[in-house]
């Protein structure tokens, strides 16, 4: 079983899980064509 310390860590991690880093966080700001990840249909070109 998880120790208390690890339970507390899990709770913090769980909160962070709901606002994960975004790819644009690690890139220079693109004002004209900003990156906007979107879940496209699987039959579209994926890469």
């Amino acid at each position: 079983p998880l120790q208390k310390e690890h339970q507390a860590q899990f709770q913090m991690m769980e909160s962070a899980f709901f606002h994960m880093p975004h790819p644009s966080d690690s890139e220079k700001l693109r004002t004209y064509l900003p990156r906007s990840p979107y879940h496209t249909p699987p039959y579209y070109l994926q890469s």
């Binding site: 890139e27 906007s36 979107y38 496209t40 039959y43 070109l45 994926q46």
Partner: protein
């Protein structure tokens, strides 16, 4: 036999549990690591285009910044003069460019919406854009399919190619939809 978790029976118990609990599978049997979006057979290094721990694909060319002389960074001087991004203003050529170079991005869908508005249709099986050739008479037409000559957009040669084709209506994508929050 060893009758605790450290023998064969222990392994078997874990495997059996993993059959019903998907959360256990990832450790019991591992995952298919070739399905994580990395080209593990690439002769080139992966790290220069690594999109990050949760990226399903490598970086696109436009995602990779290169250091350029500051004089090249003219955005702050001209950005107020640039027209806003408006897909209705662009030619088909640019729409296809946006579609094929913005995979997994809202711009791909926006381009698809505008192409649809211009009577291009995306064939979900062939994975190509097609449209009717103006003035061409259909050879055959039923409630479920038609046959005739169509323009296909050939992405490899970057041009429209006319081809005779049996078009099954069920294989065509309907009007692409964008979530309200992305507008």
């Amino acid at each position: 036999m060893v009758n605790d978790q450290f023998g064969i029976v222990g392994l078997l118990t874990f495997i059996r549990a993993a059959e019903t609990d998907p959360n256990l599978v990832s450790l019991a049997l591992g995952q298919d690591l070739t399905a994580l979006g990395l080209n593990l057979n690439s002769p080139d290094n992966l790290y220069p285009t690594f999109g990050g721990p949760w990226a399903e694909q490598p970086c696109r060319p436009q995602d990779i910044d290169f250091h350029v002389p500051p004089e090249y960074l003219v955005n702050s001087a001209i950005r107020d003069k640039l027209a806003g991004v408006k897909f209705t203003r662009y030619k088909d050529d640019l729409l296809f460019f946006m579609f094929y170079n913005n995979c997994g991005d809202v711009f791909q869908v926006l381009a698809a919406v505008e192409l649809y508005n211009r009577e291009w249709r995306y064939h979900t099986e062939e994975k190509v854009w097609i449209t009717q050739v103006p003035g061409m008479v259909l050879l055959e037409k039923t409630s479920t399919y038609e046959r005739g000559t169509y323009y296909f957009f050939d992405v490899h040669n970057w041009r429209k190619v006319a081809k005779e084709f049996h078009l099954d209506y069920s294989k065509l994508e309907g009007r692409p939809v964008i979530q309200q929050s992305m507008h």
